[in-house]
C-alpha cells in the first residue's frame, strides 16, 4: 500500500501518463478535436454542440470518410474553466494530433485558446455569434458577427415595427458591451435621441428582474413605440422572460428581440407568455428547406429523441464542418496550413436553402432571419434579408476599428490591417 502510493505521488505518475499517450497515437485516421464544456455552467449549451459534431463526423464516415481515411472524433471536457480550455486545446493538438478543432462557446474561452492555436498553427472552428473585433489566421468564425445579427434586427424593428425608443439590455460582459456600443452608435446615426435609448447591464445569471422590468415598463409607457434589444446571456433569460410575462408586458406592447435565445434555450422555458417576442439568427429550426429537414431528421435519429431541437450554433458547426471537409478535399491534405489556404472561397449549402461561403476575413456569408417565438417553442420567420450578409470582423461603427480590415489572402495576409496607417498590427507570428 505504502509503496504504491509513493509511486503514485508527484512526478512519477505524470511521467507515466505522458508516455502512455505518446504510444497510442499512430492509428490511420484523421482526428477531429471537439472542445466543448460537458460540465460546469456552460454544459447547458455546449453539450449539444459536442453531439452535433459527433453526428456530423459519423455521417461523413458513412459517406466514406475523408481522403480515404475514417474521421475520428477526440472529445475532451474543458469543464467551463477558461484556462482549462487552453490546456485542453494544447492537449488536443500536441498530444492527440488532431487536424482541426471544433469548439468553444464563450468569447473568453476563445480568447483563452487563441494563442495556442496560433502558436501550434492549427485550426479552430468557432460556431457562436460573437462581438467581432477579432480575426485570427487560425480561427474560422462560423457564427454571426454583429452586422449579421444585431444591425439587421434593429433595422427590422425600426422600419417594420416603427420602434422609436430603445432599451439595450445585456449581461455585463464583452459581447453585450460591444454589441450595444455598435447599436448605440448606429441608432444615433439614424437620428435616435440620447433620451430614447436606455442601456442596462446585469451580472451573469441575474435572477431578480423585478426592478429592471418595472423600469422598462415605465420607459415604454412614454407614448412612443418601445422595444428591448436583449443581449442577456443564457441563464438569465428565463427569469427575465418570466418577469416580463408576470408584469403583463406582451410582445405587442414592448417586443424583445434577443440575440442569445434560440430553440435550445426556449426548450427550457414555458413559451406561452412569450409568443411574439423576437430573435435574430441566421437559422431557425422552422425554416422550410430540404437540407434542414434532412438535418433535423438525422439529428433526432442520432440523439434518439423526437423532442430535441436544432439551433443556430448547430447550423454553424454544420457549415464549418462541411467547409473544412471541402477544403481538405480541395487541398488534398489535412495539413492546417494548406487547409487555411484552400478554405477561403469554399461555399457549402447552409440549412436555410442557400450557399454560405468562407470570406477572406475568416467569417462566413449567411442570411439574417428574424423570428417570432411561438407557443410550441419554435420561431416563425417574419423577416429575412434579401440576400446573404458577409460577416464583418471589424465594426464600421466603432471608433477604434472602423479603419481596420481583415484579409487572409496573400499578399495582405493580415487580420487587422489599418487602411489609414497601412499598418498590420497584433500579429503573433
Amino acid at each position: 500500500m505504502k509503496r504504491t502510493l509513493l509511486n503514485a505521488s508527484v512526478g512519477a505518475a505524470l511521467l507515466a501518463g505522458t508516455m502512455f499517450s505518446a504510444i497510442a497515437s499512430a492509428a490511420d485516421t484523421i482526428k477531429v478535436g471537439v472542445l466543448h464544456s460537458l460540465s460546469g455552467t456552460m454544459a447547458i449549451s455546449e453539450t449539444t454542440l459536442k453531439d452535433t459534431m459527433l453526428m456530423l463526423i459519423e455521417e461523413q464516415n458513412k459517406k466514406g470518410g475523408l481522403l480515404g481515411k475514417k474521421l475520428e472524433p477526440v472529445v475532451v471536457d474543458p469543464a467551463s474553466n477558461w484556462p482549462l480550455f487552453a490546456e485542453k486545446a494544447r492537449e488536443l493538438i500536441e498530444k492527440n494530433k488532431v487536424d482541426a478543432v471544433f469548439g468553444c462557446w464563450t468569447s473568453v474561452s476563445r480568447k483563452s485558446v487563441l494563442p495556442v492555436f496560433e502558436e501550434l498553427n492549427s485550426l479552430l472552428f468557432y460556431p457562436v455569434q460573437y462581438e467581432g473585433e477579432e480575426s485570427s489566421k487560425n480561427v474560422f468564425y462560423t457564427g454571426a458577427a454583429p452586422n449579421q445579427q444585431a444591425i439587421p434586427a434593429v433595422d427590422y424593428l425600426m422600419n417594420e415595427i416603427g420602434v422609436k425608443r430603445w432599451v439595450l439590455a445585456g449581461t455585463d460582459y464583452v459581447y453585450p458591451r460591444t454589441t450595444n456600443k455598435i447599436l448605440e452608435a448606429y441608432l444615433k446615426a439614424k437620428g435616435v435621441a440620447e433620451k430614447d435609448i436606455m442601456i442596462n447591464y446585469t451580472p451573469f445569471g441575474h435572477s431578480d428582474w423585478q426592478s429592471i422590468v418595472s423600469d422598462i415598463k415605465k420607459f415604454g409607457s412614454a407614448g412612443k413605440k418601445t422595444a428591448v434589444v436583449s443581449t442577456i446571456n443564457g441563464d438569465a433569460n428565463v427569469p427575465f422572460y418570466k418577469e416580463l410575462g408576470n408584469q403583463g408586458i406582451s410582445a405587442q406592447d414592448i417586443p424583445v428581440v434577443a440575440f442569445s435565445v434560440g430553440e435550445e434555450e426556449l426548450s427550457g422555458i414555458d413559451t406561452k407568455p412569450l409568443v411574439g417576442h423576437l430573435a435574430a439568427w441566421n437559422y431557425f429550426m422552422s425554416v422550410d428547406a430540404q437540407e434542414n429537414d434532412a438535418f433535423i431528421e438525422a439529428w433526432q435519429k442520432f440523439i434518439k429523441s423526437e423532442d430535441r431541437v436544432t439551433n443556430d450554433p448547430m447550423e454553424a458547426h454544420y457549415i464549418g464542418f462541411n467547409m473544412w471537409v471541402e477544403a481538405v478535399k480541395k487541398a488534398g491534405t489535412t495539413d492546417p496550413a494548406a487547409v487555411q489556404e484552400a478554405i477561403v472561397g469554399v461555399a457549402v449549402p447552409n440549412l436555410t436553402g442557400g450557399l454560405s461561403a468562407m470570406m477572406p476575413n475568416h467569417h462566413v456569408t449567411k442570411p439574417v432571419l428574424i423570428g417570432e417565438i411561438q407557443d410550441d417553442g419554435q420561431f416563425d420567420v417574419v423577416w429575412k434579408t434579401s440576400g446573404l450578409v458577409a460577416g464583418d470582423a471589424w465594426s464600421d461603427y466603432l471608433e477604434g476599428s472602423k479603419d481596420i480590415i481583415s484579409d487572409w489572402r496573400a499578399p495582405l495576409s493580415c487580420g487587422n490591417y489599418n487602411v489609414k496607417t497601412a499598418n498590420c498590427s497584433g500579429q503573433n507570428f
Partner: protein, 361 residues
C-alpha cells in the same frame, strides 16, 4: 540551515528531493528527441508548471488551516490578485502589438472607448514594481481583512463564510467592465515576459523551473515558520485560542502575521500561474475554486505542508486525466473521491505515511 529546518521532517525531505529531481529531470528529458520514450513534451512541462503553482497555493492554505486553524474559503482571491498583478505587467508588455496598435492602452480599453490608462495601471510596465504588487496587493488585502476580522474575534465557520463572501464580492467586482480589468474576458493575449516570448519553449521551461523553485522556497519558509516560536504559538491558538490569549499572547497579531504571509504566498503562486496559462479572468475568484484548494489540502493531509503538495498534484492530475478519459462522468469520479477520502482517510494521503501522532485538531 535548510537541514535544520528539515530536521525531523522526513516527508519534507522526500518531497524536496523528488521536487529537485523533477526540476532537473524534466528540462533534460524535454531535450530528448520527440520520438524517445522518455521525452517530455512542452505541453506536459507547462502542465506540471501549472500544478506546481497550485501546489504552492495549497501550501499557503495548509499554513493557515493546518497550523492556525483558519479555514480560508477565499484563498483563491489572493491567488487571483497576484495573477492580476502579473497579468497587468504582461498586458503592458504588449505595447503596440495589440490588435488596435495603441501604444499604451490594452485592447479591451480601446474598444470600450477608454481615453487614458486608469491610475491603478500605472507603474505596471516595470517588472520590479509589478512583482512588488504581486506580494503587496494580496498581502494588504489580507492584512486589512484580518485586522478587522481577528480583532473582532470572528472565528470558525463565521470566518470561513466571510472569506467566501470576500472572494465572491471580488469576483462580481472584477466581472464589471467599469473596473478596468477587462471584465469577464480578463487579461489575455500576452506576448512576452522580460523580453522573452511566452510561447518559446525555453521561457516555458524557465517558468516551470521558477515555479518549482518558488514552491521549494515557499515550502521551506512555511516549514521554518512552523518550527519557529511563532509557529508554536500558532498551533497553540489552533488548539485552544482562549487559553493562549489568557496566557498573554497577542493572538490577533500572530494570526494577522501568518494570514498575511500566507496570502502573499498565494499571490506569488498566482503570479507564476498566469504566464503559464496565459489568461487571468474573474473566474479565478469563484468561491468554488477556493473550496477546491481546501479539498486538495484535505486530500493530501492537513498540517503536514508536503501533504498539501501531494493533494494539489494528485487531484489536478486526476482532473486532467479524467476530463480527457471520461469526459462524461468525471465529476462522479471526482465527487466520489472527495467523499471517500474524507470518510476513510481523515488525515489525507500524508496520514498514511506518517506514524507520528498529532497534526489533527
Amino acid at each position: 540551515m535548510i537541514l535544520r529546518i528539515l530536521k525531523n521532517d522526513i516527508g519534507g525531505k522526500v518531497f524536496l528531493l523528488v521536487l529537485l529531481t523533477t526540476l532537473i529531470a524534466v528540462p533534460v528529458l524535454n531535450q530528448l528527441p520527440a520520438e524517445h520514450t522518455f521525452h517530455i513534451s512542452i505541453y506536459t512541462v507547462t502542465l506540471l508548471g501549472k500544478y506546481l503553482t497550485y501546489a504552492l497555493l495549497a501550501v499557503a492554505v495548509d499554513l493557515v488551516w493546518g497550523y492556525l486553524g483558519i479555514l480560508s474559503l477565499g484563498h483563491a482571491a489572493f491567488f487571483a490578485l497576484g495573477g492580476y498583478a502579473m497579468g497587468m505587467y504582461l498586458m503592458r508588455q504588449i505595447g503596440e502589438r495589440g490588435v488596435y496598435g495603441h501604444p499604451e492602452l490594452p485592447d479591451f480599453m480601446v474598444f470600450l472607448d477608454w481615453q487614458e490608462l486608469p491610475w491603478f495601471w500605472s507603474g505596471f510596465d516595470n517588472f520590479g514594481f509589478a512583482m512588488l504588487m504581486v506580494l503587496v496587493v494580496p498581502g494588504l488585502l489580507a492584512f486589512v481583512f484580518g485586522w478587522f476580522a481577528f480583532r473582532s474575534r470572528v472565528t470558525g465557520v463565521y470566518l470561513s463564510i466571510i472569506t467566501q463572501a470576500l472572494t465572491y464580492a471580488l469576483m462580481l467586482a472584477f466581472f464589471r467592465n467599469e473596473m478596468g480589468f477587462g471584465g469577464n474576458n480578463g487579461l489575455t493575449d500576452f506576448k512576452d515576459i522580460l523580453g522573452f516570448s511566452l510561447q518559446a519553449d525555453s521561457t516555458r521551461l524557465a517558468l516551470f523551473v521558477a515555479s518549482g523553485v518558488a514552491l521549494a522556497l515557499g515550502y521551506l519558509s512555511c516549514r521554518a515558520l512552523v518550527k519557529s516560536r511563532l509557529g508554536k504559538v500558532a498551533v497553540a491558538i489552533r488548539d485552544a485560542e482562549d487559553r493562549t490569549r489568557f496566557i498573554g499572547y497577542k493572538v490577533e497579531y500572530v494570526k494577522l502575521a501568518i494570514f498575511t504571509f500566507s496570502a502573499m504566498l498565494a499571490g506569488l503562486a498566482g503570479a507564476l500561474y498566469v504566464p503559464q496559462v496565459c489568461i487571468i479572468n474573474p473566474g479565478e475568484f469563484q468561491p468554488l475554486n477556493s473550496i477546491e484548494v481546501v479539498v486538495w489540502v484535505a486530500m493530501g493531509g492537513r498540517a503536514t505542508l508536503y501533504g498539501a503538495v501531494i493533494g494539489a498534484l494528485g487531484v489536478n492530475y486526476a482532473k486532467t486525466w479524467f476530463t480527457a478519459a471520461f469526459p462524461e462522468i468525471w465529476l462522479f469520479a471526482l465527487g466520489g473521491l472527495f467523499v471517500v477520502v474524507t470518510l476513510l482517510m481523515p488525515r489525507g494521503i500524508a496520514g498514511l505515511f506518517s506514524r507520528k501522532k498529532g497534526g489533527e485538531s
